[in-house]
């Protein structure tokens, strides 16, 4: 299985490992030009953080945990979420462009009114989450050994058992 989305050179990325972010200030230092870009977060924990409408570009979140946080109206572009647990997240009206979700778990999260464009999901589950009014365009799910394109976004959650 190969990701079709291109990611910039690894060398220019900032790598943050094993760090806990407990408020906006802790994470705010990594925002440049009001955007969070080109950062690899590995084994990180994000808690009680609220950002509204900020661009998050070319970021990788691996083995990370998100708890009780809000990235409402944020624009995620070319981001990868791998082995992440996302609990009680407010992702309402968030936009995901060219993003990949690998082995992620969304729990009690609100994604109502969010947009997914050119995104790929594999081994990702949504439990007790609000997936109303989601718009998907060219979104693929890895099912039974192949990529299945989701065309009807009205039953988006049916694809994630």
């Amino acid at each position: 299985m190969e990701n079709t989305n291109k990611i910039p050179e690894e060398e220019i990325r900032l790598k943050i490992r094993n760090k806990t972010f407990l408020n906006e200030t802790a994470l705010n230092q990594y925002f440049k030009w009001n955007a969070l870009s080109l950062i690899n977060f590995v084994d990180c924990r994000f808690e009680d953080i609220e950002f509204l409408g900020r661009p998050i570009n070319f970021c990788k979140f691996k083995n990370s945990e998100f708890n009780d946080f809000s990235f409402r109206k944020c624009e995620f572009a070319k981001c990868t979420f791998e082995n992440c647990r996302i609990v009680k997240a407010n992702l309402t009206r968030a936009e995901f462009w060219d993003c990949n979700f690998i082995n992620c778990e969304f729990l009690q999260s609100d994604l109502a009114g969010s947009d997914f464009w050119n995104c790929e999901f594999s081994e990702t589950t949504f439990k007790d989450s609000n997936l109303n009014f989601i718009i998907v365009t060219n979104v693929k799910v890895w099912k039974s050994g192949e990529w299945v394109e989701i065309k009807d976004f009205s039953n988006f959650d049916n694809h994630f058992d």
């Binding site: 030009w33 009001n34 870009s37 009206r93 109502a112 009114g113």
Partner: protein, 355 residues
């Protein structure tokens, strides 16, 4: 010829004449009466006589309204920087005048007002302080219902540190310079700058931007009475504002595209054209999204999208507009604000020239 010693200082050993004694008495009286009176005066009016606004970056020329002429004329401050006693120039003048006139208190002479009200100052005062006073009512302004004489730009910066930093970093002219923002309701702005769906009640850059656009659209007659959608309706109908027309419009959503320079700096990874096209496509989809819900729009015709080009430089506005409409496929239900070249965009890379 006898030498007459009536000047000051007298030489030690001079014979005390009645004239000299009379001068000494005069001088003692002058010191004992006038110096305490000067100190009393300073204590009484020691407070700065001008109060500034709570917004430190508000231009002083804007907030200066009334001139308290009586006090200004009654006090000669000697041109010092910030204190109420005599400054170096006042003291030098006093010394100089004392030598010229001879006798009397040098201090008193130095504080005698030498300029009449209304006359042109010959010696420009050293002080940068204006001898004027404004009060809170004057600052708030009484021409606006919400009571604001400060621009929406100032208000936004005051509410949101994030907004302030963003404006400063991008080195653009204040958004208020691109359109008139004086005549607005401050309380309404504050209400509109809150996101009803956010977990915490904070003012963020995005919500301040949305409020600015909503107010501007109202001022330009594009929409009537924009209001945030209250809880719990906003939980389902997640559009930015509800409006009272004109026409069929009941709801409104706001978009803020940026210029290519900002896209590059933020590492967005797409071009100006891509951004604008995607925005247009998204607008069409969003119009349909919340239709038919309780207290939501009945159809897509009820949803107006305002695309605010405030963050797009002049030379790129046309491109963004064109590609946005191209993505949407139609200009139906889409209005642009700040889409003209009236206000020039300034950036660092243009070497101090407006683009």
């Amino acid at each position: 010829m006898t030498k007459k010693n009536i000047g000051y200082p007298y030489t030690y050993g001079d014979k005390l004449t009645p004239e000299m004694a009379r001068n000494n008495r005069k001088q003692t009286v002058s010191y004992s009466v006038l110096i305490p009176s000067i100190w009393w005066h300073n204590l009484e009016f020691g407070e700065p006589i001008q109060s500034y606004s709570s917004f430190s970056n508000e231009p002083k020329t804007v907030i200066v309204r009334g001139v308290e002429t009586s006090r200004v004329n009654s006090i000669s401050r000697g041109g010092d920087l910030g204190k109420s006693g005599p400054g170096p120039r006042a003291k030098a003048d006093a010394l100089k005048n004392a030598r010229k006139t001879g006798g009397g208190s040098i201090f008193v002479q130095g504080f005698t007002p030498q300029r009449q009200y209304g006359s042109r100052p010959i010696n420009k005062p050293l002080s940068c302080r204006n001898n004027v006073k404004i009060n809170q009512e004057q600052f708030n302004g009484n021409q606006n219902p919400g009571g604001s004489s400060s621009s929406m730009e100032t208000m936004s910066k005051h509410l949101s540190q994030e907004y302030k930093e963003y404006q400063q970093k991008f080195n653009s002219p204040p958004v208020s310079k691109r359109f008139d923002t004086k005549n607005y309701d401050r309380e309404k702005f504050k209400e509109l700058a809150k996101d009803p769906k956010a977990n915490k009640e904070v003012f963020e850059k995005k919500t301040c931007d949305e409020a600015r656009t909503a107010i501007q659209a109202e001022m330009e007659g594009i929409v009537n009475n924009p209001q945030r959608i209250e809880k719990p309706i906003c939980k389902s109908v997640d559009l930015d504002f509800k409006v009272d027309g004109p026409g069929l419009y009941t709801h409104m959503d706001v978009k803020h595209p940026v210029g290519s320079e900002i896209l590059r700096k933020q590492d967005r990874g797409h071009t100006l054209q891509e951004m604008a096209t995607k925005m247009g496509k998204r607008i069409v989809e969003q119009k349909e999204r919340f239709c038919g819900l309780e207290q939501g729009p009945e159809s897509s015709e009820n949803v107006l999208h305002i695309v605010d080009l405030a963050y797009v430089p002049s030379h790129e506005k046309k491109i963004v507009k064109e590609y946005c409409l191209k993505g949407a496929g139609s200009s139906e239900g889409i209005k642009f604000v700040n889409d003209n070249d009236k206000y020039k965009f300034f950036n660092k890379e243009s070497n101090g020239k407006y683009k």
